[in-house]
Amino acid sequence: MIQVGLLTEVQKDELQGQWYAPDSYFNPIQDVNDNWIISQEEMQQNVNPSFDWVRDLPLIPYEPKPTPPPFK
């Protein structure tokens, strides 16, 4: 099971549109339970000092939303 970092609503708003590595940007998404999450790649590769806290996010199992049509 893939593990992802769990965000609060406020943390999600802080990360949207922000870079975590050169030419790479955070992309918070919602899982099937509407939790906001980011990937471990973003947590581990982050070099933006404004967001050092992402390394300490709690990990939860990733449960994706169903893929929208026609990919179902």
Binding site: I2, V4, A21, P22, D23, S24, Y25, F26, N27, P28, I29, I37, I38, S39, Q40, E41, E42, Q45, Y62, P64, T67, P68, P70, F71, K72
Partner: protein
Amino acid sequence: MANSNGWGDGASNNNIGWGKGADNAIGWGSIQADSWAGATDIVGTPAVDPDAQAFITAAAITDPTQQSAINTLVTNLKGYNIWTKMKALYPFVGGTSSTHKFNLKDPRNLDAAFRLVFNGGWTHSSTGATPNGTNAYADTKLNPLLTLSQNSTHISFYSRTNTDGNTSDIGLKSTGSGYTMIQAKYSNVFTAHVNEFYVFADHSSNTNGQGFYVGNRTGASVRNNWKNGSKVHTSSSPSQTQANFNFFVGALNNAGPASAYSNRQCAFASIGDGLTDAESANFYTAVQAFQTTLNRNV
């Protein structure tokens, strides 16, 4: 007598020489006509193609093998008369996001040059860029409605990963449900659509998700799909108006947000005009030679 540079001055002891004279200013890349000896057939190391050099400079590619591979790719694409049909070429060489982002066709660090912007979790390495299949995509900034023709468009994706997934490797969807996308392998089929409605049955069998995939439209009712230089599917699906969104790599631009996240490693991708059958086959030859030089061919 021999020149101090050691290559000769065209005197009797030197019928095959590189030099022009004692004050030889002619370098390795000079043309044969500039050589001193009339019988000279050897013309030194070929000059680097200026378009290849522009990319090498922008992406700061220092590895000689990678430089050579890029140069050969560009000269081959030009030799096959494919180069001018390309709007975006992503060779994913150099091993980092800062090198993978550049469009070989226009290597400026600008949205207007269709330079990639990576979002979500990617892993970059010498073999390509791997999206995590969870939230990763790259925005090409290339809007087909502004850049391409409805009945002449191709997209390509070089997959180094053999996975089966309900995902999109490169593509977008319009608000009117028109798709342009490649799905390398899902339920053991390869699906590609170009400016048309999605029809799952309009596909070809595929038991290995690795390979070089091309979706190609050359007419209002002519679309064909290619894998590894072979035409594997032909469709008469009628074309629809192009989507007014940007192409995403590693996912589908689902009329705005990303979805259908893929986990297949990308070692090359392109977006451009439609290709003839001969051009499609030659395109694979050029791209596969590029991957082979980089020792990452599948």
